[in-house]
Symmetry: C2
Subunit: 207 residues, 2 copies
């Protein structure tokens, strides 16, 4: 699956550029609209609604993608690198492994404070689709796997008693806290950080 | 006039009784089907599909309920007492507060082991609907509130440092673990119990 077409085209491709640019801009607009609408209203948003909101015809959509399922998958794929970059600490930051793990929960609590927060888009997509084989579920699962892998690597680096267990526990807390904030059942305000911190302590990692 | 009924209804009620019984059985069948279909396929299941699966006409459905939303709410309402009774320890059990809290996570892990497990139906409904004011979200939120209240009461009984905090943490673990098991991201097998147990320890509750 392709993701971005933003790289500049060489001069000899200039003739193609105009049509390609239009295509790329329709594609980007469709995917950004799909990501936004699905996050706010759910992935079962009708194709008509989606196309209308993106300002493109259904015919154009089906020129770009084989199916609405493929649009959903591409929309999640397009948003994932940015979401991951925001959630995980930068590689060159000065934080130790414990603070790097807690960094994720601090970002979660900040995000959850927004009035339009609806939880983790990747977990929500999987909950809604109820089909691990759906192309969008596959993309969503891959995005969440990155979080699990990050926690496991940091837990190992920090000398956790059982890095695999701590990584699974922190991912459970991440998904539970983001879900509960997303449905309006809890406002977090320190809950995710406190809970993650307690589990990091229990795993034998010192401050 | 019949003469062989063991508990004869007054003659003037004979017609009503029969119609009421049919209505009740259609209603129950519709709600059980809705609960099952929505759990497996999601709450956006089309009305036609739902009626067909329940073996009733759309006309009959709209005689029983004002809207499909009302069917969804009633389906969750109908399943909630049984689900709660299964999840929470019986009032007359011999367990102490700590074991009573862990009892919930043991039931969760048993449930999550089933191949058709799709997570907590009440949390999933809220994630799917993305609207806390939807009648089914209101019912689902009420069901989950019972779990939070149970944890808070047990945590207080057990002398937790901060019963409200522990209750929120355990509910986060419950929702995170059930969600991750439901989407096939984790098989649990002790994860929920171990995590809940660690947080109960941190809250100062002894075994």
């Amino acid at each position: 699956m392709t993701t971005d077409t933003a790289a500049p085209a060489p001069a000899h491709e200039m003739f193609e550029t105009s049509e390609e640019t239009t295509k790329a801009s329709s594609r980007d607009r469709l995917l950004d609209t799909a990501a936004d609408l699905c996050y706010r209203q759910g992935l079962r948003v009708p194709t008509d609604t989606l196309c209308k909101a993106a300002g493109i015809s259904k015919r154009s959509m089906y020129k770009l993608f084989d199916s609405k399922d493929a649009v959903l998958a591409a929309a999640l794929e397009r948003s994932a690198p940015g979401a991951t970059a925001h959630l995980l600490p930068p590689d060159d930051c000065e934080l130790g492994p414990r603070a790097r793990m807690l960094y994720v929960f601090e970002r979660l609590e900040e995000a959850a404070d927004a009035p339009n927060y609806r939880g983790c888009p990747y977990t929500s997509a999987q909950v809604e689709l109820k089909d691990p084989a759906h192309p969008a579920s596959v993309v969503a699962a891959r995005a969440k796997r990155q979080l699990l892998d990050f926690f496991r690597a940091e837990a190992a680096q920090a000398g956790a008693i059982d890095p695999g267990l701590l990584a699974r526990q922190l991912t459970v807390v991440y998904d539970g806290a983001s879900t509960r904030a997303g449905i309006g059942a809890d406002c977090l305000r320190g809950l995710a950080v406190t809970t993650a911190s307690a589990l990091i302590d229990v795993a034998g990692i010192v401050a």
